[in-house]
């Protein structure tokens, strides 16, 4: 062969080059849905032995699955969707990953370059549409740029504050032929996340924490991201500081640990809310002070000096004014603090701290559990029972959005980070099931349970087909209260029980499960919970369990929106503490 023809033989299609780029990025599993503009990628996948593709039933689910995968494995998740409607269906997933800061890369098809802007069939300006809900996005306009862009996309998604990156792939780029030239070095001169906190700020923070009389640590999702749960646990235990966490920070300090206050915020623990309202130093790590956490901003930790560690400078002093800002990776910063603490022998005043603990204990005693008397199965009982019969398995728990989500956060004791997969920032109904599916693919040996509402499960119920096709053994525990419970709760309290359009019907979930080829169970009595859970776990198949529960149960404690954190409602009688 002449040299020229040999070179021609070595040429690959853009689609093949694309798969090589994924391989180089270490990707071996992707979630996707085909279509005209990415059909050439599917052609390349046909004989591809290094990437396993999971065909979802809706593009939104592909992206949520990628996020679930990323959440539990710590690796970036990948979704592949076609142009126009496929890409538009992916938006909610992209936004969800953006607000919770998880690394995913979403590849969208696009019409050919020469058709862009002509309102071609299945065209959508996806770079424009996603601009405000992703960390960065690209339109590939030259096949030669593809390897660089894919490499940058994974780099940007996984470094600094992680987030979704969108890469738009015009059809003609994927069919063109070219050579695959791997990119060695990333050149992004403007993108330099700060990983190490400023040493003087770190000393100041440590000094402030040691001198504090009523300190509290607030641990957020950033602690999960940087893998700083051991460090935060050690710091809390060594310095004797109680720890509360955000919904995203669940499990960063073990729920049954000595210093644990549990969750903070709108449905946080009464004593955690009071501790933060009364603390003199708040050490916040990896949280962006969402309004669900702070309540009324003006009165949030009003007498406290605030130390805030975050890798994203934008989070610092955005909502809450901070006294000691530390920009850096949580693990590095906490490491540096611990090191300095041991080296320089800081003193801590244990006497005053004892008094602070005593005070917190007192608040703990005061919180009366709402008494629940009802004929029907109580949703809180269901979640407690699910916890009791799965805790030893150390499962992954996903949730949808609503009352069941808050009850899960309150009652399931998370002892490890990455154990709870839930939509915090965007609060996306329909997230939990596909995310659980992605999590189950990411960690194949784990028991994965999606605790769902009857409203939420109907938003992405079609993924049961995906679970059945690939035998992904997700257990969906439907807390079936016949209402869009969380909205109903607001209507009950704030709108005179006008349950406007919140009563929702459901199909027969047992039959649905069976129709899809999965297992279905119905539970109406407390004593059936444990045996059914046991059967579901042992089945190692996709399972729906329909828990028929009391419709009118409320989530307490409850801080009404805009109220200060310590204005906690504890029961229907409106007992405010």
């Amino acid at each position: 062969m002449t040299q020229q023809t040999e070179e021609k033989v070595n040429l690959m299609t853009g689609a093949q080059i694309f798969l090589e780029c994924l391989k180089d990025a270490g990707v071996d599993e992707i979630f996707g849905y085909p279509g005209g503009k990415i059909i050439s990628i599917y052609e390349a996948l046909y004989n591809c032995d290094f990437i396993k593709h999971y065909l979802v039933r809706h593009e939104q689910a592909a992206v949520h699955a990628a996020e679930g995968y990323a959440r539990v494995t710590g690796k970036p998740g990948v979704a592949l969707v076609t142009s126009g409607p496929g890409a538009c269906n992916a938006i909610t997933g992209i936004a969800n990953a953006y607000y919770d800061g998880y690394p995913i890369v979403v590849f969208t098809g696009q019409v050919d370059l020469n058709q862009i802007g002509n309102d071609a069939f299945q065209e959508a300006d996806i770079v424009g549409i996603t601009r405000s809900c992703c960390k960065h996005n690209y339109l590939v306009s030259d096949l030669r740029d593809l390897p660089r862009i894919v490499k940058e996309a994974f780099h940007i998604a996984t470094t600094g504050k992680p987030g979704p990156v969108v890469v738009d792939l015009p059809g003609n780029i994927l069919t063109e032929k070219g050579k695959y030239v791997p990119v060695e070095k990333i050149k992004l001169p403007g993108y330099n996340p700060t990983y190490n906190g400023h040493p003087r700020q770190i000393s100041k923070a440590l000094q402030m924490l040691c001198n504090a009389e009523r300190p509290v640590i607030l641990s957020g999702g950033g602690v999960v991201m940087s893998g700083a749960h051991k460090e935060i646990t050690e710091l809390a235990n060594t310095l004797g500081i109680p720890v509360t966490n955000t919904l995203m920070g669940m499990g960063t300090y073990p729920a049954d640990g000595e210093m644990s206050l549990g969750m903070l915020g709108m449905h946080g623990n009464y004593w955690a809310n009071h501790a933060v309202s009364n603390c003199d130093v708040l050490f916040a790590v990896g949280t962006r002070f969402n309004d669900r956490i702070t309540g009324c901003l003006k009165r949030f930790a009003k007498d406290a000096q605030i130390i805030h560690v975050d890798i994203d400078p934008c989070s610092i002093s955005k909502n809450v004014s901070v006294d000691i800002p530390i920009v850096g990776d949580a693990k590095n910063v906490l490491d540096a603090m611990l090191k300095e603490f041991y080296e320089k022998e800081y003193e801590i005043n244990s006497d005053v701290k004892h008094a602070w603990f005593a005070q917190i204990q007192e608040w703990k005693q005061k919180r009366a559990l709402p008494a629940v008397s009802s004929e029907k199965l109580n949703p809180l009982t269901v979640i407690k029972e699910i916890y009791n019969c799965t805790k030893d398995l150390d499962p992954i728990i996903a949730t949808e959005v609503g009352q069941h989500q808050m009850w899960t956060a309150q009652l399931y004791k998370f002892n490890h980070p990455r154990q709870l997969v839930t939509s915090g920032g965007l609060g996306t109904m329909g997230f939990g099931f596909p995310a659980a599916m992605g999590a189950s693919i990411g960690l194949k040996d784990k028991v994965v349970i999606n605790i769902a509402g009857d409203g939420s499960i109907q938003m992405n119920i079609q993924e049961l087909a995906t679970c059945v096709q690939y035998n992904i053994p997700v257990i969906v525990a439907i807390i079936n209260n016949g209402y869009l419970g969380m909205v109903r709760q607001w209507q009950e309290k704030l709108f005179n029980k006008h349950y406007s359009e919140t009563k929702i019907t459901s199909p027969d979930y047992v039959k649905v499960a069976e129709a899809y080829g999965a297992l279905g169970f119905r539970v109406e009595k407390a004593e059936d919970i444990a045996p059914t859970m046991k059967k579901a776990i042992e089945a190692k198949r996709p399972v729906f369990i329909d828990f028929i529960v009391e419709p009118f149960e409320m989530v307490y404690p409850w801080v009404l929106a805009g109220k200060p954190l310590h204005n906690v409602l504890l029961s229907n009688d409106g007992i405010e503490c």
């Binding site: 770079v127 424009g128 601009r131 405000s132 960390k135 960065h136 339109l139 306009s141 940007i156 992004l188 001169p189 403007g190 993108y191 994203d312 400078p313 934008c314 002093s317 955005k318």
Partner: protein, 166 residues
């Protein structure tokens, strides 16, 4: 109070809309926005005039910095920087006002760049205050049409001279 922010960005497709949609998406005010390549074609300089309290300005700077194509963000302090705006202004020219227009143009160092039998078109360059008073004076003579460039600004000392090393 107005603030002038100078942003050095990579000169790539869509970078301007990233900046403008950052402002609209987060509800920040844009008074004016100008953009053009720098001496190195690889980079563009964006000058944004915006308003807000210190907290808002700090967030704007941080958010601009967070954009991936952003190389550097700088707040330009009026005392340490030079700011200019360009206007083209078409004013009605009647026999009795022609000399007045010429006089004003002279005072403001503006040029007459086009003349028709009904109009004079002036080109003027100046800082915001000068431009404002020029417009005020011309307004009384009858402005037909006016275009403003938006502000460009440059700092006197701390320049972006690190570009070279990139």
């Amino acid at each position: 109070m107005n603030h002038t922010i100078s942003v050095l960005v990579r000169n790539e497709a869509g970078v301007l809309s990233r900046i403008s949609s950052l402002f609209s998406g987060r509800g920040y005010n844009i008074e004016s926005l100008t953009v053009a390549p720098t001496i190195e074609n690889e980079f563009s300089r964006v000058t944004i005039v915006t308003s807000g309290d210190d907290k808002v300005i700090e967030q704007i700077m941080k958010q601009l910095n967070r954009l991936i194509p952003t190389i550097k963000v700088m707040a330009l302090q009026p005392q340490d920087s030079i700011e200019r705006e360009l206007i083209l202004c078409k004013v009605c020219a009647k026999d009795e006002t022609r000399s007045e227009i010429l006089r004003i143009a002279e005072i403001f160092n503006a040029k007459i760049i086009d003349v028709t039998h009904k109009t004079y078109t002036l080109q003027a360059i100046g800082d915001n205050r000068q431009i404002r008073s020029l417009i005020e004076l011309l307004r009384q003579l009858g402005i037909r049409e006016l275009v403003r460039s938006g502000k460009v600004a440059i700092s006197r000392e701390n320049s972006f001279n690190h570009i070279k090393s990139l």
